[in-house]
Amino acid sequence: MLIAVLLGFLFALFLVFVGKFFKGKLAVISALVPLALFIYFASFIPQISKGEVISQTHNWVPSFGVNLGFTLDGLSLLFSLMITGIGFLVFAYTASYLKGHKYLDRFYAYLSVFMGAMLGLVLSDNIISMFVFWELTSISSFFLIGFNNTSEASRKSALTALGITGFGGFSLLAGALLLGNMSGTYNIAEMLTMREALVDHQYYVLAVIFIFGAAFTKSAQFPFHFWLPGAMKAPTPVSTYLHSATMVKAGIYLLMRFTPVLGDTPTWNTTLTIIGAITMLYSAIHTLFRTDLKGVLAYSTISALGILVFLIGLGGQAAFLAAAVFIIVHALYKATLFLVTGIIDHQAGTRDVTQLAGLKKMMMPVFIAGFLAAISSAGIPPSIGFLGKELTYEASIHSTGIIILIAVAIVLTKILLLYAGFVAGIKPFTGKLPEKFSEVKMPGPLMWVPPILLAVLGILFGVFPALIESSLVKPVVTALGVDASDIHLALWHGFNTVLVLSLITIGVGILLYFILKPSVKLENKIGKLEPISPEAILKRISYYFTVLSRFWTNVFQNGYLRNYVTTVILFLVILVGYIFFGNSRLVIDHNQLSEITAYEMVVSVILVLGVFYTVFTKSRLAAVAAMGVVGLAICLLFVFYSAPDLAMTQFSIDTLTVILFVLVLYRLPKYLTLSDYKMRIRDGILSLAFGGLICVLALQVLAEPQNSEIGDFYAKNAYIEAHGRNVVNVILVDFRGTDTLIEISVLAIAAIGVFGLLKLRLKSSDRAN
């Protein structure tokens, strides 16, 4: 399974090198990758339908409990088949849709990375590796959505999608770490065994919020839904792939995967039901006001996702069964509708529903595909959509609680979805053909075969639901932790409330389709509500955030060295001073201290005077000379306190520095006092505080016991091992010889720098004079 997951990535890598051969006629060959994967996963169907769970583990970071563990159960099998199956059709379709595109190879690379990431996501058994794949889908979808990178709108919507889903990824990571801490494992199967402990844990609600944050952003739930319509800027194959079967279903997958672990609590069920209901109704209403075909499809996708979240929230066998069937239904008809829209856009050059009409004359097969998908989306028998709708109604009206409200919401949503499906799948093909479309041609088979294949499957599964019953649907319900043995799918359920609701839905929906015509006027009306939409609010927040950060940057990154230094020192003084004086008392043991002799006193006084003279003199030469005096006084201190080598080094270096200063700097401008009086007082206080702090700290450290282990080691071995009597020298040239060598090279580099600067001939234009 590892190979299966990595295949997408490997293929992308392969395209980096040989991509140019895949731009022309060979492009269609790349569809073999998802096809092979599809066959591979399909071969597991017999095993999975028997109730087996296949898992494989590869060690990755075992010390952190992070493994590349892959588990194939009913749930992941269904998603894998959708990812690779629809992936195969999209790959093939793209070869014709983007024929001759300059960056076709890149497109395939992004697409296959995305496919690999999605497979990894749904197969991962380890929540950390799941997070990694989750992020990979966000990143690769960023490239896919922004594929038309010359268009500003396209780049912007890619960025919005990345921002929103990236936020969700962050939330998933937080949830993963929290769950890992709560349960002591990152393995989802192991978490399953300690469900009780997790649900009763004090951080349960927090963990659920994090998981919801991830799922709602990825699956475009209200109020994070707006990235999805924006993502329609992508080429249509991308929209097909991302929004019918993969990207947006990742959130649904996450919720389903965690249902047996965290689900079936009031928190879980209520939140999901409410958010799902709001989302499905809100965006279903939005579809009425769209004139762009893809806009209609985008909002109906959000609505369908809302239904799924709602069903997961209801819980129980009926709802999970409905969700499992509806995932298949939605993937089939939504992919078809997107592909059909892509064909219309490609051939007729527009996606505006108000203009499109009568295209069935030229493209009958496309119309058939669109029509079949539309009736599946409408839930008209004998499509599988009918089955999905019946099950959804069944689950909703059998649930306890505010039944009427829920039933009304779901029926209303379904009516609107029917309308959306008809607008996208039927409207462009019927009616009178406008003059300007008379030249429209039929696309190549690579484009029209995939949608018709999917649409026919939608009808086939509807007529023979046994085809998917035990192979796909039952294992999914089992994976959700519910007994599935008594499930039986059938198109005809007999005369009951559900059938009445179905009939109402179909009747009202078709009526709505004939009465309401999409128009620009309607679209403009909803545009007036834009300022209070979640998107606008979020954009305003991010705008003010940039204003704030610009202000913040201007205050702290002001470009003045002294302000940076002041900030750092002030912070240090306050923080260290606070902790230091808050916790400890200065203890000075006078017995341990050595005596002060007269000559030491003299040297110290000279040193301090030198420092003061350096600081306050008005002559540069005097300052440099005084600095030399300070250096020499330090040199004497080294002599007094048993450091002859240091004294020698200090002496020579100090002398050299003074000479260099005098030689180089005698021609500089006048040594001015540039700061004003107040500034100097302020800096003086700060410096004195800092100096005082260091002084007190030094005394405090002296009160602590000293560890001289390292020094003893060198002293003991200096002569025995290195045959040198001067221990300091032995350390430098023998024990730490490599360090010294590197130090010498640093000096050499500095010397080269100095030499270069001295020899640098400036162009006349660079000179100020």
């Binding site: 700097l665 130090e743 010397a751 600067l757």
Partner: protein
């Protein structure tokens, strides 16, 4: 003597920071040098100071027989002195060149990198 040492270190640090906060580049370099000296002395003091006991093994023995000053801080400081010389000389030359180009020693006036000012 340790207290006096600590005071000297404090004075060097204070003077170093004060000079670094000035606008003149030359003062900045002087500040860095003073601060560096302060840091050296601080390391020296924290390694405990002792008089008349250099870490040199006597001629007639293979090991120290009496107390000796800790050689490790000394080795550290020696390295630090040499490296800071590299830094200082480079900085001094850099100031000189910068002055040749922009004709000023005031940090606040050096706000253009590649234009004539």
């Amino acid at each position: 003597m340790e207290i006096l040492f600590a005071i000297i270190i404090g004075v060097l640090y204070a003077a170093g920071i004060y000079m670094i906060l000035r606008r003149s580049l030359v003062k900045l370099i002087i500040g860095i040098i003073l601060l560096g000296n302060g840091a050296n002395l601080l390391i020296f003091l924290l390694g405990r100071i002792s008089e008349g006991a250099p870490p040199i093994i006597p001629e007639d023995s293979k090991m120290f027989l009496e107390a000796y000053a800790d050689p490790v801080p000394q080795a550290l400081i020696l390295t630090a002195i040499v490296i800071s010389f590299g830094l200082q000389s480079f900085a001094i030359i850099l100031v000189k060149r910068a002055h040749k180009v922009v004709k000023t020693d005031d940090l606040d006036e050096m706000n253009a990198t590649d234009e004539d000012s």
